[in-house]
């Protein structure tokens, strides 16, 4: 699904943030992207989404690069950013309508999906509300609703749990698992290691823009030489190796 091969990049070619990164997300798989602040997680996501241009390496989704066919590349993916960026001039209903229009969804397809999502995330009553009246959690829910409305082949989620109430976190995880079971590949970037350990199939642990450990939990335990370590222990181990 998502293939990243030897990608180096960042905000300027002279000072790359990520160096020679390679990993993949297969259909029906959840991969946890973890690392300290400044390790290069957000840069990696920006490179995948095309917000930054890699100085070397290739990024493909379903075998297609952004350059080859930008529309088809983008059609396959949905993104839930850490900071909820909404259109202040649109109501919740209009956010969902716009998403459906942009992704060429049939009304018969998205309308029932929208109703069920609104119900699940307790936003039905707020359909005609503008984002200025939303709390941070509600704004985050709008991003989540739009991403789930698309039912993408690849879902990229950046720190989705911040600001959400426990019920919304539960619904979000349930939906992510459902999507995963339906074949969606998910790249989950988070600092909530316990949740990542519980739900992700594989992990990519970044340190100073490079991959420090990669694989399933047991593969990473072997790589680190800590056979009984939890994801949290591995994270601390990698951070300390870094001299922190």
């Amino acid at each position: 699904m998502l293939d990243i091969k030897h990608v180096t990049g960042g905000y300027s070619p002279q000072h790359p943030v990520i160096h020679d990164i390679s990993f993949s997300v297969k259909p029906g798989e959840m991969v946890g992207l973890i690392g300290l602040n400044g390790a290069g997680k957000s840069t990696t996501i920006k490179e995948i989404l095309g917000f930054l241009q890699p100085t070397s390496g290739t990024i493909s989704v379903d075998g297609l690069t952004l350059k080859e066919d930008p529309d088809r590349f983008k059609r396959h993916l949905a993104y839930i950013p850490e900071t909820p960026y909404l259109y202040p001039e649109l109501t919740l209903r209009e956010h969902l309508e716009l998403t459906a229009m942009a992704y060429s969804l049939e009304e018969s397809q998205w309308r029932p999906r929208m109703d069920s999502l609104l119900e699940e995330f307790q936003m039905t009553k707020r359909l005609e509300w503008y984002p200025t009246t939303f709390s941070k959690g509600m704004r985050q829910k709008v991003m989540i609703l739009c991403a789930f409305l698309i039912q993408p082949k690849l879902l990229i989620v950046d720190e989705p749990f911040i600001g959400l109430d426990p019920l919304a976190i539960h619904s979000l995880l349930n939906h992510m698992i459902t999507l995963k079971n339906q074949g969606t590949g998910i790249l989950l970037c988070t600092h909530v290691l316990a949740t990542a350990e519980k739900h992700a199939d594989r992990f990519v642990l970044l340190r100073e823009g490079q991959i420090a450990l990669q694989g399933t939990l047991s593969e990473m335990q072997t790589q680190a030489g800590l056979p009984t370590a939890s994801l949290d222990d591995l994270f601390v181990h990698v951070a300390k190796e870094n001299g922190l």
Partner: protein, 401 residues
């Protein structure tokens, strides 16, 4: 401490650099528009001077206008909210800072007044007096400006700026009327100087000691001045410091129904709502439409001036509209929608073209001239302005943005 001593010049330099950056950005946006406005002003002023009848009260008009120029005084200090805390121990330096601020404002205010005098010089020389009298008038007016600035500053320190404004305004008007009347100047000058001196001593007597600085007042005035500049700049370019508020205009929401909810209209759907629901550029477009319509309605100009008014209105509106697209440039979804990149531009062109054509129709259809002289005035203007509106909205602006 050396840095602190240069604090005022450092802030002044920084403010000017920022101002110049904004001016450059605005100039880039406006293109030939300022030149066009200057030409319009030049020809308008010339026509006004030629039209002026012999009994026109030019002295009174000039006295009233210059009263505004003299009374409307600015005193910038570049004071920052943190200053009362960080500059508290540096008493002597702060005194020097405010002396420098006063010198700076004196130069700025004199410069501004000279520019106004330059602008008024044709009116004075045509209607009021000769060059030697005008030179004397300039000297007295600059003296008045300096006095206004001193009094304004003292009034702020003593906490009575509003009353001082009225007092200064009244004094300015009387002195200027007498000055432009030209009679008994030998009496006016000593009398004016005595009156100015009396007011100065009155204010100075009631001013608190120099170490008691009205920080809050200076900071608030500085904030207001900067906000005014930002608001002005935001008429032309996007200024992050100025919040463009959402204003739901239900009375115009019926327009949204004209855009079907289809994939090919994705960006148009968004752009239309952005235009209708933000306070600007909708507000500016509406104001320009009203001003254009009123100018045509009141002056009922012939074909060519009417066409110039329409062109200025269309350009003035058009140059503000690309904001609708730029405003979304950093919205992640806007960058991720699986739609051709070109559609962002074509949809903007569709919206801008429709808005500008509708604007020219709205302005012209309410003109009685259109109905009285449809073939010589109305239809040619309607066709030409619609064509130019289409060119600006659908061709020129989308190409640039």
């Amino acid at each position: 401490m050396k840095d602190l001593e240069q604090l005022f010049s450092h802030r002044r330099k920084h403010a000017w650099q920022k101002g110049l950056r904004y001016a450059t950005l605005i100039a880039k946006t406006l293109q030939v528009f300022p030149l066009f406005a200057l030409l319009l002003l030049y020809f308008g002023y010339k026509a006004f001077l030629q039209w002026m009848p012999a009994d026109f009260p030019a002295s009174l008009l000039m006295a009233i206008l210059l009263t505004g120029v003299l009374t409307q005084t600015k005193h910038r200090t570049f004071a920052q909210p943190a200053d009362p805390y960080f500059l508290l121990p540096a008493g002597a330096v702060v005194q020097k800072y405010f002396r420098e601020a006063f010198r700076y404002n004196l130069i700025m205010e004199i410069g501004k007044t000279l520019l106004w005098m330059l602008f008024f010089s044709p009116l004075y020389l045509v209607k009021i007096g000769e060059a030697s009298e005008f030179t004397l008038a300039i000297v007295l007016i600059l003296l008045l400006k300096g006095w206004n600035l001193i009094l304004f500053r003292l009034a702020i320190i003593s906490g009575t700026p509003t009353f001082s404004g009225w007092l200064r305004g009244g004094s300015n008007l009387l002195i200027l009327m007498w000055l432009f009347d030209g009679r008994y100047l030998i009496v006016l000058i000593p009398l004016a100087l005595i009156w100015m001196g009396l007011l100065f001593f009155h204010y100075q007597r009631h001013t608190p000691p120099a170490h008691l600085i009205p920080w809050e007042e200076w900071i608030s005035r500085e904030r207001q001045t900067v906000s005014t500049y930002y608001r002005f700049a935001s008429q032309f370019i996007e200024v992050p410091q100025v919040g463009n508020e959402i204003r739901i205009r239900k009375w115009v929401s019926f327009v949204e129904k004209f855009v079907p909810k289809q994939t090919k209209n994705t960006y148009l759907y968004l752009y239309l709502r952005t235009f209708l629901r933000y306070s600007e550029p909708f507000g500016a477009s509406l104001r320009l439409t009203l001003v254009g319509a009123v100018i045509l309605l009141v002056f009922q100009p012939s074909w060519l001036p009417a066409w110039i008014v329409l062109l200025v209105m269309l350009l003035g509106t058009g140059i503000q509209l690309p904001w609708i697209r730029h405003h979304h440039n950093f919205q992640p979804w806007f960058r991720l929608y699986p739609r051709p990149e070109q559609q962002k531009r074509t949809d903007l062109g569709k919206l801008m073209g429709t808005l500008l054509i509708s604007q020219s129709f709205l302005v012209l259809l309410i003109q009685p001239q259109l109905w009285y002289f449809p073939l010589t005035w109305g239809l040619p203007l309607l066709l030409l302005s619609s064509g130019v509106a289409w060119l600006i909205g659908c061709v020129w602006l989308p190409k640039k943005h």
